[in-house]
Symmetry: C2
Subunit: 197 residues, 2 copies
């Protein structure tokens, strides 16, 4: 309910925030199939016509509700590629174990198979979640730590491949031993010598 002293702007912002929060709540509890404009309207108390005024489609609403996923912590800068990659891989493993988006991403992968607009959402999310690996890779190339033919996509795939496989497909635990082996194997594939222990 709008309070009489509020400006229109404040009320609009509050409605939008409520809609986005309920969308994210439905998304993380039931996957993307659980998000309907009807249910978002019911839970947020914001009329469907108002929701459609701000977001022309369910996909547009989902895109904005997911816009905070993956835009998290600072990129580590430990002085070596090995150190940066270890820090980032441990952080990604922790998110895969506990972040709410980790339970939702498969439903976004699923709809991306069939819906081009949501395939765009998937591509954005994927790029944001893995962007820090690109930053540390460029830095390592500038320092001459990486072979010129190994780029961000290779580094990302070497780390995210085994982590994602284990999180969503084999469903084995992402424990410290496994995470350390992923980093070691990735460095080996990329031709980087680990720091002396």
């Amino acid at each position: 309910m709008a309070r009489s002293g509020d400006s229109v702007d404040v009320r609009v912002q509050r409605s939008k925030a409520a809609v986005l929060a309920q969308t994210y709540e439905l998304l993380t509890s039931g996957g993307i199939g659980g998000v309907s404009i009807d249910e978002v309207s019911r839970r947020s108390g914001v009329a469907k016509t108002t929701i459609y005024r701000h977001w022309p489609s369910r996909a547009a609403l989902l895109v904005e509700a997911c816009s905070t996923i993956g835009s998290t912590s600072a990129v580590p800068d430990t002085g070596s590629f090995d150190g940066d990659l270890t820090a980032l891989t441990e952080e990604l493993a922790e998110q895969l174990r506990s972040a709410r988006w980790a339970t939702v991403l498969p439903s976004i992968v699923d709809v991306a198979e069939r819906d081009p607009e949501l395939a765009g959402l998937h591509a954005d999310l994927h790029a944001r979640i893995l962007a820090p690996f690109g930053v540390v890779t460029e830095r390592a190339r500038a320092r001459g730590e990486l072979a010129a033919d190994r780029g961000p996509a290779d580094v990302t795939a070497a780390v995210a491949g085994p982590l994602f496989y284990r999180r969503w497909f084999s469903r084995e635990p992402l424990d410290a031993v496994f995470v350390a082996r992923v980093v070691e194997d990735a460095l080996g594939l990329l031709g980087v010598q680990p720091r002396p222990a």
Copy 2:
């Protein structure tokens, strides 16, 4: 419609086959969220009560409809681990590019996050799709080609990790160059010397 000459058994088998075919059709066109008993009944012409007599739940029906996925071709036996792994990885890449189950698996991964019965379906599918890698690994260990501490799970993860990542997450093409590199990298990680070219 039952023909008057048919035995009860033949009619039952025909109904069950129709139900399973329509379930698989709905699954592969719309993901697991697209499968409802109502819709399966409507499309197959088999009454809901009959469907529930054969399968106590939607999950049980899905499990049987998916039972042919992954139980495909013969396991290659080329005489070397390198040769077997190359053949299997190329076959898996081909399936990921074109098999209908490849567009459906993300929806099964998704529901496995929330539904224990369907998590069982996911585990069965995953095991069946990747079982041939276990067979060639055990054979290679018996021949002494693999270090004793590298087992089927390591081999499977080294191949399926990068392929699955690329198919469903980065959505880049699974081309021949990439597939060859996956095999080479996997052999490197597993400490196996490739055959001389």
